[in-house]
Amino acid sequence: MCLAIPGRVVEVVDDADQLAKVDVAGVRRTVNLALLDADPHALIGSWVLIHVGFALSQIDEREALATLQLLQEMGEDYEQQLRELRESAVE
């Protein structure tokens, strides 16, 4: 609902305050990780959802891939149907 964007945790800035630098396509911002209930150091390299300077959730890469795969399968089916349609038209 509100603007939130995925970013990669690249470095811990403050252990006590649970602050880390998060990278979005080369742009970095300090983000508060306190809502994630995990050790900031353990999160380095993982992707999180950033909203108003806080990480709301960790991105589940497997789920992301699964979703994409589903979409790609649908895409392949569609391309297949289009091909069949074109080929049948030629005949």
Partner: protein, 360 residues
Amino acid sequence: MSGATRQERIGEIVQRTRARPARFRDEHITMAHGAGGKASQSLIEGLLLPALRNDALAALGDAGTIAVDGVRLALSTDSFVVTPIRFPGGSIGELAVNGTVNDLAVSGARPLALTLSLVLEEGLPADELRAEIDAIALAAAAAGVQVIAGDTKVVERGHADRMYACTTGVGVLDPRAELSTSALCPGDRILVSGAVGEHGMAIMLARDEFALEADIRSDTRSLWPAVDALLDAAGADVHCMRDATRGGVASALNELARASGVAALVREREVPVAPAVAGACELLGIDPLYVANEGKLVAFVAPARARAALDALRAVAGCEQAADVGEVLAEPPGMVLVDTAFGGRRVMDLLAGDPLPRIC
């Protein structure tokens, strides 16, 4: 009355309302009036034009043209109030030179000379002033212009945000140029001279309001070499050019579509944007097409010469990423449409005010 008919009627009413000259009805000036969007438009069309009334101004080009003994001159002026005065990729002095040089250039005039007006804040360190004067000298030399007159004022501490700079420039209209804001033709290709949104994002980052770090630098530079190349390659087939400053490419397209009574169609996928600019815009919820540039132009070129024009542009230093991003359509007049990278189509209107980051 069916739903669809009402929708179309409302669309038409909105179109007609937008096509009328904007009225200026605000009680106070707000920051929106300086943003290059609708509020700025209402100030220009609703207050300045009616009061100052003349054809040169009414063309609302980047420069005003005037003929003196058969010589066509172009005159332009620009004030710079940017804060902070130094930022990645440039400084206020550089902007002051290139800003006016570019307004002249995109109007088809080779820039010749500038005047420079400075308003300095009491307490400004001499070193900072020195640095800006050096920047101005360098930029002027790079742009091939001379600063031939000027003025300096000082105001009390707390005003002028360190310094404001205003430049006015004069140039001679190039014989190859036949440019006009009302010359856009259906079928014209829309060219941009490089990646968009760099200046505005550089400033936004430098201001530290959002505590973002990124390697984004202002793109401030003279556009005369780009204009020269375009005029050389396509001459009178370049119908119009604009410096895409405040309000970005989107605002420039909207203003020109309005002036020519045509539509502009942009293919989002073709618009060059640097990854870091795209990332910063995503984070803040801004569209890069609305972000200010200080070294980019949009050009409208007849289709027959568009390829040659693009190739010539790409050969100019700093314009390697120039691209053909769309075309002019006859309808709907005054509107800018975008074919999104996803395949849908939408309108790209002038912003009502400042591109405030969308947060929630």
